[in-house]
């Protein structure tokens, strides 16, 4: 399936792309567009104005996708808190990882293409997932 989002991706879109490929559609292909009108007819748009998979009622797109696809994994919801704070910067959750992740993603958008950002941030989100998976299992910070 094809998925489309705005070009010049940052934290929310990078995290959504990772989420989609890992938990929704392993064959996902991503298209980056400058304008909503350029979204191909067969692609599902996300993190764009006026689409279903966008910011909804104070939630960022990552949270909206979790809700839409009924993903209840608590580790994903923990990552959602980090993405939310990094993206919206509203202190809704305690997410000390957020400012660091925000800076890294910002830097990636300066040094490479959107494809490159996805290629690099994918393993970063995998790592974040594994860390928080262990943390959830242990009930404390893993060594």
């Amino acid at each position: 399936m094809r998925w489309a989002t705005r070009a010049g991706i940052h934290i929310d879109r990078a995290a959504c792309a990772w989420l989609i490929r890992r938990f929704v559609d392993e064959h996902a292909e991503f298209v980056f567009v400058a304008d909503p009108r350029e979204v191909p007819p067969d692609a599902t748009p996300f993190d764009m104005r006026g689409v279903a998979l966008g910011h909804v009622g104070g939630d960022c797109s990552f949270e909206t996708i979790l809700r839409s696809y009924e993903l209840t994994d608590p580790v994903l919801w923990r990552i959602a808190e980090i993405v939310h704070v990094a993206d919206l910067d509203d202190d809704r959750f305690d997410a000390p990882e957020a400012p660091g992740l925000d800076v890294l993603l910002r830097g990636l958008s300066m040094t490479g293409t959107d494809e490159h950002t996805l290629a690099v941030s994918g393993p970063m989100f995998d790592a974040l997932y594994e860390y928080h998976r262990r943390r959830t299992l242990l009930g404390r910070d893993p060594a």
Binding site: R49, G50, D89
Partner: protein, 151 residues
């Protein structure tokens, strides 16, 4: 620029919008009209706010606008810098008063001040001289906290 019109009631969406605009550090040009220096990030943030306004039963639009005179542009930058300057002054004052408090309270205050420093920095598009003064006050508070720990 974001133009918006929200119903008077309910007041919750108005309050939320107002809080978000404040966090972004917008310049209020008129009732229902705010501006930010244009970049990809500010534009996106205003677009999401426009979306929220529409969802709350209002009307909103995001515009790319340019003042017709340099003077007008400067005036806008000066007012934004002045708003941040006031926040930096308050931060510096907070750091100075925290320096005299109990060590435990000082550590808590330091954490609060660092968060506040980052928050102001994110909406600071035209750094005023007060930024440096606030940075120095924050450093003094850090030093005071470390010295207390070393004892």
């Amino acid at each position: 620029m974001l133009s918006y019109r929200l119903p008077r009631e309910p007041s919750a969406p108005r309050t939320t919008l107002w809080r978000r605009l404040r966090r972004l550090g917008v310049a209020q040009l008129a009732d229902g009209l705010v501006a930010l220096p244009a970049d990809a990030r500010t534009r996106e943030q205003l677009e999401w706010l426009a979306e929220d306004v529409v969802a709350a039963g209002g009307a909103a639009g995001v515009w790319l606008a340019r003042p017709t005179t340099i003077a007008q542009e400067r005036e806008l930058a000066v007012s934004l810098a002045a708003a941040r300057a006031a926040e930096y002054r308050e931060l510096a004052e907070g750091c100075r008063s925290a320096a005299g408090s109990e060590p435990a309270e000082r550590v808590r205050a330091l954490r609060r001040m660092r968060t506040e420093w980052r928050a102001i920095g994110r909406r600071d598009f035209f750094p005023p001289p007060e930024r440096e003064a606030a940075a120095a006050a924050l450093r003094s508070l850090e030093m005071a906290t470390q010295t207390a720990e070393a004892r």
